[in-house]
């Protein structure tokens, strides 16, 4: 546990040392702020029903949300292992008394913490909206919970891909495309045979994320996100270990 804490602190500190993180944070807040403003304007139109919930749309309701999530996760996870491989620091790290699992989990937790802290300023929107209208806090909570679970899964995907190669660019690119593919499964289910449709629907990130935006915490979706996260982290540990049998 002590090792984990030491590793975690360094990983998190490094995320705050690197300029990339600040660029990512800025872009993220600008886009989410802009999205919020547009959605409020749109839902303010007299033709829209009164009970329309901005947060239902803000989380996962727009294409740009998914693009931002894909880009942000890829950008933050790309260097986690690739950079250690490229500079050779992995050798130094792995010759201290730490286990591969501790290293993987600390990197994962640090990236996830950073991603979730990025969402903290958006709580201001809840406050602002609460000043002018009634906010369904259940939906807000479910939205944030869904975002957390989604980030768990995408971060573990990013870290897994980062653990397979030395190039940050390759890691970014493959993670980004991977997330977009998971996202696209939802649209693909219309063009595949019936037999596969159900598989596509269950595998689709969008399909699993939707209940959260409506304020529903579905156990199926929770299991979906957590089990994939666990599986991908397991793969990452194996990938890091693979230096031993390559």
């Amino acid at each position: 546990m002590r090792n984990f804490r030491t590793l975690y602190k360094r990983e998190l500190a490094t995320l705050y040392y690197t300029p990339t993180s600040y660029v990512v944070m800025c872009v993220f807040l600008i886009v989410v702020g802009w999205l919020f403003w547009i959605l409020v304007n749109y839902l303010n139109a007299p033709s829209k029903p009164l009970e329309a919930n901005v947060f239902g749309y803000l989380f996962g309701g727009t294409f740009i949300y998914w693009m931002v999530v894909a880009a942000v996760t890829s950008a933050l996870t790309m260097r986690l292992f690739s950079e250690e491989y490229r500079t050779g620091t992995i050798e130094m790290l792995m010759t201290t008394p730490v286990t591969d699992t501790q290293v993987v989990l600390s990197k994962f937790s640090a990236a996830l913490t950073f991603l979730m802290l990025m969402w903290v300023p958006t709580l201001v929107y809840v406050y602002i909206l609460g000043k002018f209208t009634t906010v369904d806090y259940g939906v807000v909570f479910a939205g944030y919970l869904g975002t957390f679970l989604l980030n768990c899964m995408l971060t573990s995907l990013g870290i897994m891909i980062s653990s397979t190669n030395k190039s940050q660019f390759v890691s970014f690119f493959v993670t980004f495309i991977g997330i977009l593919m998971l996202f696209s499964l939802n649209f693909m289910q219309d063009v595949v045979s019936n037999k596969w449709r159900v598989v596509y629907r269950y595998a689709s990130v969008l399909e699993q994320f939707n209940p959260f935006t409506k304020g529903v915490i579905s156990s199926q979706s929770v299991v979906y996100f957590l089990s994939i996260t666990a599986f991908l982290l397991f793969c990452t540990v194996k990938s890091v270990e693979s230096r031993k049998w390559r």
């Binding site: 490094t14 050779g88 620091t89 130094m92 201290t96 031993k244």
Partner: protein
């Protein structure tokens, strides 16, 4: 401290380490020598548990490097080749982080940090960012990192590469100092370095150990050369020396009328200086030198890594 038996490491189509065996006693400073690609770095990576061997046994402080890897890592301070560091951290932060990973905390961490910063003369740069340090200082940070856990065994891969002569001298002194109370194994292809620092030498070539012994044994076991300088025509000196039956591999060179002849003796136990003198004396040539020369490590190294 280290027991290695029949260690083999093969990559897809290359045998990097080929059935090597050696022992290192506690307190030894051992030089691992060999040309590039001889398998030195691979051996070190196995000893530090970074990767396992294909077959064979390697033990550090009585623990198997593969089965008890975490325990082995607690005993080792490792400085990899090219000293990879986290460039965005400050020297202080980096050493504190590494110290914690190696199990230090609280006051003992602070004391240990101060001790290694002193030993590696990093006082002036301790709050600088690693990225901005000179190559020499980075090397020192690497060494400080290897030392911070107070390890019994220090594994240093090319510790002085890329340093200027003053820094090289200081690092060598530091290694000697460190070696007083712990075991050090260092790889290099800078031969004078090994002669100055190490007590024991292991020479590797194409994945195999071609020689391992103490510095003095290695030298005395290797044949000494006889050198003689006389003022005479070169061809005649060569002809005259054929009369010394024990001499072989006679090499001559000429400089301003003086001929220098170097040769080996077939009788390693016997000193043949007298015979050489008597043969040359018959010709009454002026002689200004007759001596024996111990082989340098370079001679031994060249011999070992070319004849095999």
């Amino acid at each position: 401290m280290i027991q290695v038996k029949e260690l083999v490491k093969t990559y897809a189509d290359l045998t990097a380490v080929d059935h090597i065996s050696f022992n290192v006693e506690k307190g030894d400073i051992v030089g691992l020598l060999g040309p590039n690609g001889a398998g030195k770095t691979t051996t070190m990576k196995i000893l530090t548990c970074f990767m396992p061997a294909t077959s064979g046994v390697a033990k550090v402080a009585g623990h198997d490097v593969f089965k008890e890897s975490l325990e082995v890592r607690r005993h080792i301070g490792y400085m990899p080749e090219n000293v990879p560091l986290y460039p965005e951290m400050r020297v202080n932060e980096f050493l504190s982080y590494r110290g914690r990973l190696k199990g230090l905390k609280g006051q003992s961490l602070i004391n240990r940090m101060n001790a290694v910063i002193d030993a590696c003369e990093l006082g002036q740069v301790r709050s600088r960012i690693i990225e901005q340090l000179s190559k020499g200082n980075r090397q020192r940070v690497g060494l400080a990192d290897a030392l911070i856990g107070d390890p019994d065994l220090l594994v240093l891969d090319e510790p002085t590469i890329g340093l200027d002569p003053n820094q090289v001298r200081k690092v060598r002194e530091l290694i000697k100092e460190i070696g007083r109370d712990r075991t050090v194994i260092l790889s290099t292809h800078i031969l004078p370095e090994v002669e100055m620092v190490c007590e024991k030498v292991i020479i590797m070539y194409k994945g195999k150990i071609v020689a391992q012994d103490s510095m003095s044994n290695l030298r005395s076991g290797n044949k000494k050369r006889y050198c003689v300088e006389v003022k005479a025509p070169k061809a005649e000196v060569e002809r005259a020396l054929l009369d010394v039956k024990e001499a072989y591999e006679i090499r001559t060179s000429e400089n301003e009328g003086w001929v220098r002849a170097e040769m080996l003796s077939r009788l390693p136990e016997e000193n043949i200086s007298e015979k050489i003198f008597l043969v040359l004396q018959k010709h009454s040539w002026p002689m200004r030198l007759l001596t024996t020369k111990m082989p340098t490590l370079e001679d031994i190294f060249v011999e070992m890594t070319t004849k095999h």
